[in-house]
Symmetry: D2
Subunit: 345 residues, 4 copies
């Protein structure tokens, strides 16, 4: 923490600042300047709240000089976290692709699509049973029935399941069926839910909130980690900016930035980021070239009948073409597709 005194601060005000530092059992370093004085603070194990000092008279600004998170940061852990999902590792050199429909619509639908995305090379299956919808009148998902259909698809194809958890009430159900519990953008700061998920011992995929900074996103991961769940990976899915040519603005530079700041894996969801089928493939290719550990892509074989987000779903044929491109880019950059560790199916 560095404290900047205003140019017209009094001696008493500076003394009060120093007294507060001592009261916190920390050390103050006074730095005299041309117009004013700065005070460096050291000795704190964890980031301090700037407000502790900014409310004191004579203080112009208090600035953090370390990141607010601890367990999620590179300083805490050497090397990269690899999250294990069935036979696959997310966070290693191999690219992991999660594919499937936006929502589970029927047993036949999810099994059919699961087979097609597996054939194209996807390792994990996605499908929403509980759907967060802006409108109370829109399709809200099949609920428990949807979870059972996912289990059938998993049994048929061997693909681990990624599905969204919306609230505390359905937590036990979702945790029973899911291999990865997905926290959506709207729930990134639903701290009560995060605390509950932190007590599970199942992988959690934490999507970035629509207007979350990287610090806020990693602090939400910290909620999961601080409760003891270290099987966490992140998913960039577009932020809200002024730009109106796509549903959201894909912030792809977050990928290298997060990899500098954190040991947690990061994947990209080009489907929600663009919201338009014709741009999903180019953003998927870009994400791999940018260094993402994986992708989550919506695929539907009858997009014009989809109950949810059909516009952004790739058709199975287009998805297969894209998977070949992704493999080629991975190979060009000396990576490859993640393979199952112990056989798998």
């Amino acid at each position: 923490m560095l404290i900047l005194m205003s140019s017209d601060h009094t001696k008493k005000q500076l003394a009060d600042v120093l007294a507060r530092v001592r009261k916190l059992h920390l050390k103050a370093h006074v730095i005299p300047g041309r117009n004013s004085v700065a005070v460096g603070i050291t000795g704190n194990a964890r980031a301090l709240d700037p407000g502790l000092f900014e409310i004191l008279p004579g203080v112009l600004e208090a600035m953090r000089v370390t990141r607010p998170y601890k367990l999620a940061g590179r300083n805490f852990k050497h090397g990269d976290t690899v999250v294990t999902v069935g036979p696959f590792g997310i966070g290693g050199p191999g690219l992991v692709v999660i594919a499937g429909p936006c929502a589970v619509e029927s047993e036949a639908q999810i099994i059919r699509i699961a087979h097609s995305v597996k054939k194209a090379g996807a390792q994990l299956l996605r499908g929403g049973a509980y759907k967060p919808r802006t409108s109370p009148y829109a399709f809200q998902g099949l609920g428990r029935k949807g979870l059972r259909f996912l289990a059938k698809a998993k049994k048929e194809t061997g693909m681990p399941i990624v599905t969204e958890i919306l609230d505390q009430r359905s937590l036990d159900d979702v945790a029973e069926y899911a291999d990865v519990l997905q926290v959506g953008a709207r729930n990134m700061q639903n701290f009560a839910l995060l605390k509950d998920l932190g007590k599970l011992r199942k992988p959690v995929m934490l999507k970035r909130g629509l207007s979350a900074t990287l610090d806020e996103w990693l602090m939400s991961a910290e909620y999961l980690l601080s409760e003891g769940n270290d099987q966490v990976f992140l998913c960039e899915r577009g932020i809200r900016a002024f730009s109106d040519h796509a549903r959201n603005t894909l912030d792809l530079a977050a990928v290298p930035a997060v990899k500098e700041l954190s040991h947690l894996p990061i994947i990209v969801d080009p489907s929600h980021a663009t919201g338009v089928r014709s741009r999903v493939a180019s953003m998927a290719r870009a994400a791999v070239a940018a260094g993402a550990h994986g992708l989550m892509i919506e695929v539907h074989d009858r997009p014009d009948q989809a109950l949810c987000d059909g516009m952004q779903a790739l058709r199975p044929d287009d998805f297969a073409v894209l998977m070949r491109d992704l493999a080629a880019i991975s190979a060009a950059l000396d990576r490859g597709m993640a393979a199952p560790k112990h056989g798998g199916r």
Copy 2:
């Protein structure tokens, strides 16, 4: 809904669009143009999903020509909703001011501050017992103990209580003590929580999400209304933009815009919108001049010892000065401060 066909659409594609309209039991109106054709759709009781048509080949764009909400909109109800809280009405000509500390810290603290804000003219008391915090290591509120302290302050002063509801588990407790349940910005799209609150028969204050459009905000209100709770008011508290001179960017023009679109009352929270004490008063004055139905303002008598957001809290003296300014502006605009209906205290 208006559908624009792309300039190179085929006759069959147009026929498919018309067929889909008929299948939905709606009426299509073909509008031939210079370069292409548009199709107007009428007969729908509720807004259609553009995706239903945009996924069809040959369709360039489908645009909503009505708002997606129904119960929250001006078309649904003539006149303005007035939410009754104890002896006060929010949404009428009189200005309602909710004041108090960010968090309840002790019985003595909340009673002391309640007396001081009541004396200055505030009608309702705020104070958080459950606090949503970006960091898992920050003070999370006193929980049920905080609710009991609020009840004491209410008994002492007669002021109705506004306090935040964070999750489904604490819902019964909070609903027992609160006169108004506050939904914070981070929970604006916690749809499971909104559905539960919609089943209550207590007033709900719905804060705008950090990056919510007015449509999204009113759709979240629609979740509450569609479950049967019509005692809902809105609170603008700043959005996230690039601007870095304040904690958030107060979108004050949302006040006249919401009043055009909806019959629900709208108040403004200048404390969270700015995050800086020195700018709270000017934004509070501006909100009243802009036509807000009320204000929510953080007040603390020992801000440098506050456990939460002390930097944005007004001191009681400054709050009293501000209240006089607000009364003067209200009077200048032929409004006044809301008075209790049946005596009150």
Copy 3:
């Protein structure tokens, strides 16, 4: 400037940083911390470029601890700048209102509107002769003819003229006729134009760029001031954010923020900020309550025939009603409308 060394920096890297500080004839203060080391720099008369240090190996971050501008800042000058325009002072306690049409369309039009806004109490007349238009096919203004019509209107009413300067070529013409030269949002960082305007001895009104931070805005003012022109005032006119209910997002909290940072006057343009007639009045009232030194408001007596931005123009009757509200709010806050100093007309 404060420099944070990365946690794994070497002794040599720290020594290189200190050497660079010495080379700049500045003083370094090493602050040892728990995980790393910080270096405070003092002795610089002007803000340093963080890049000077961030490019050195071992440096995590270099942070400015003073503002980058000098002449525009409060530290440079005690008291507030008051810009003199004809008999009026902008920046004093009295409110100044600039009103008129978006564009000069004919001699009759500008004279007619000038009379009506003067009668309602406006002190200065606005009207564009050169118009910046997004489309090359839109009306681009009457040019020199428009300037002559403005001169006629000034002669008839005695109102000083505010008009936009678009480029270097028309500078002499505009400077001949204008009492205030307006730099539009799109030209806020047209540095070549700013340098030329800095050499004039005529007041300049600098609008905030659509996505300009306060620092960038004040640095553009610094271009004007550093060339010797100290007759500068600022105009907030809305920024670009995600919000879609208005043309722009009025950042009204910039008013108290700028007043803390700078001695330059700041006014508000609610017409461009909202783009919608029905919201201009509420934002105008809010701006006065927030402490703005003045307003710029578009008025047109035949808005449905206006060649430019008719939708946001107030009709003269509505403008007169608004002026009464503004006077009432100003009076309630112990301010008033600016009066001419030496007679005037």
Copy 4:
């Protein structure tokens, strides 16, 4: 254009709308709806201004149903524009890389860097002689001397020159030396400058403004095209959003979006988009995978002594590694690097 009447419009108001349409010699199509009426307008050769109708009483909204640009749009021209610069074509299948320092600092510097980027495979040389700087106290470029140094570097290496044009006064000088005139983000809506550049017969690279929508960007291109200059290509360089981990937010999805809307080539500048050396390479790779026609990358062999933006400059060795990656990705996607047409050097 589609006009939506408000639900309480009168017959006279609808008649007035139809009269205005007729007056414009266009055709109106009335579409009766459940709550109101819409009016489709056809027959216009060019996009209409919504304001023409929105100012009429009873009109709720007027929506464009075609894009506002004409010459820049896909409808105007079949196939893609290829801009010829020396022996290279920008806009074809081959990737074009423009590389060099942010600013020309000396004859030796620009020649040295030119040789190194040419060796690594770059086809065009960049270097600023006139620099737009936020601060009036920062290095403003060498001016004409810088242009002569660029000419020397061109003579030595044969590389065509890309350099920025800042204002009308230096236009003749810059046009004499440059093979491509670069319009920076801050000047994207400097319409006076655009009109002048439109009269040249030299290629112009138009950078996207910091907060420009695609429509605004393409309208600025339209200024160039409508004056007769069809040698125009676009450069995405990051937009301003709330995200604070990089200098700007690279909006990579603009690449496929622009390619759908326009026939003009689009390249990406990952250096300004990130502002941080360590993230330039990943965004450069991503841009190629996303389908950009080229890249503009800052390279400096002594970045810690650079007079401008040294932090984002790649070192020649890192640039050479990146160029190999870019070639590999291009090959994986069946593209390659652009080769000179007629020999070249």
